[in-house]
Amino acid sequence: MTARSTRLAPPLLWSILLPAIVLLLSACSATAPVALRGSGDLGVVIERADGRVKIIETTARSVLATVDGLGDLSHASVVFSRDARHAFVFGRDGGLTKVDLLEAKIVGRVVQAGNAIGGSISHDGRLVVVQNYEPGGIKAFDANTLELLADVPAASEDGRRSKVVGLADLSGQRFIYSLFELGEIRITDFSDPRKPLTQRFAGGKQPYDALVTPDGRHYIAGLFGEDGLALVDLWQPELGSRKILAGYGRGEQPLPVYKMPHLRGWSVAGGRAYLPAIGRHEVLVVDTGSWQEVGRIAVKSQPVFAMARPDGREIWVNFAFPDNGWVQVIDTLTGQITHTLQPGRGILHMEFLSKGNEVWMSARDDNRVLIYDTATKKPVGGFDASSPSGIFFTTRAARTGF
């Protein structure tokens, strides 16, 4: 009869199969994501020589994962999606890589130019814009899909292209940037990404980087080719740009600059901006109301980053090669240097926790990330990383100019 042929497997076989199935199923569930977590205490450390990033979490000061395959990460920078789940990593080779911080994997990648220097994200989080050295210009991408939406060359009327530096996000879907060779400042509005509109301002000779103040009101471009900085009041752009701190070098022969300073909104504290002088071993102090110089602080060497602790009480300064093993701390109340530290070799970058209690520093030549307590100026932790450079915490997601 047919009944015999439909008989189930013998009980003995089931007694072996069932536990095996149960075991396999439970093994599957054990490899699935184990726990929910937030992303507010996460960050990314660039391992510049290996095209790799480490995903870190700052609460237990630990490395969660390593993500590989991001290309040439020398001079890499990172911006975060508004929900602080995704990091957009901009590589030197023009690579734009979207990394899911929670799943620790690449979820999108395009190589969009020959030579890039960083990028920015719009206030609504929908557009990621990359600034390119080669060919000079900016490109806008859909933050979800990384689809190219607009390509805006940085060119003069006669077609000369220029490297783009100092890109920053403005309100709306606008971005501001400077043109190194052409000495201009431009604002491009991507409200209709298929029809970008660009406004032009005089910049100055060889702008090398720029910042937008944390309130989004002022844009300041540092100039390599002349003593002074260019300023645009973004609340009154019709007034055009103007020079501040003109002639700060007082006609003296500039000292060699082995690394260009970096400018970001972090150097604004307590109504003053602390700006690395170029070719001078000084930090220039400017009143952000009058934009007049109110002081200058002699420091150990050519400053690269002058970064305000988030409460504004201190400015931490690192230096260009060959003095990149030093860090100095300026007390903003007295304008004096209170600490001179030698945390490690090749200190490339410093990143504060959002409330300023810790600063994380990359010691490139020691292959270490160092964690210092900002109150005691003493190390409280650290971990190995291969040639670490930029350190970026997800708290940047909430800030203009980052």
């Binding site: 020589a49 040439d72 020398s74 001079h75 020959g114 030579n115 090398y208 600059v257 082995y258």
Partner: protein, 127 residues
């Protein structure tokens, strides 16, 4: 006192030979920095020159320094640029950081395709 002309000639000849042997030895010694210094120089070029020229030397704010990019540039000009910098551009002088012969070695290595960076020795080894 008058020396015999032959003796003078012999003395000059021997002296010249000694000088040339010495300077050749010095050249050979200087033209090839020792291996520890080579490692440092490679690190400086990749990492610190790399902040403008790119870690892969494909260029950035500064031009590319790949073998192809440098193939038509004269050696002396490149060495002079390293030592003296290039006024009017961000290229700083490296005088005092590398010697002229080290700069020649760097240019030579750049033209061959620059070696990879193996990092600096561990900190404790330095001091």
């Amino acid at each position: 006192m008058k020396l015999p002309p032959l003796l003078v000639h012999v003395a000059v000849f021997i002296g010249a030979a000694l000088v040339s042997v010495y300077s050749a030895a010095a050249d050979a010694r200087l033209a090839e920095p020792d291996s520890a210094r080579q490692r440092e120089l490679v690190h400086i070029v990749r990492q610190d020159c790399g902040s403008c020229h790119g870690l892969t030397l494909n260029g950035g704010l500064g031009p590319a320094l790949t073998a192809t990019a440098l193939s038509d540039k004269p050696l002396e000009g490149l060495v002079a640029t390293i030592i003296g910098g290039r006024p009017g551009t961000p290229m700083p002088p490296f005088r005092g950081i590398v010697t002229e012969t080290e700069a020649q070695w760097i240019v030579d290595q750049l033209r061959r395709g620059f070696p990879p960076d193996t990092g600096l020795p561990a900190a404790q080894a330095l001091n």
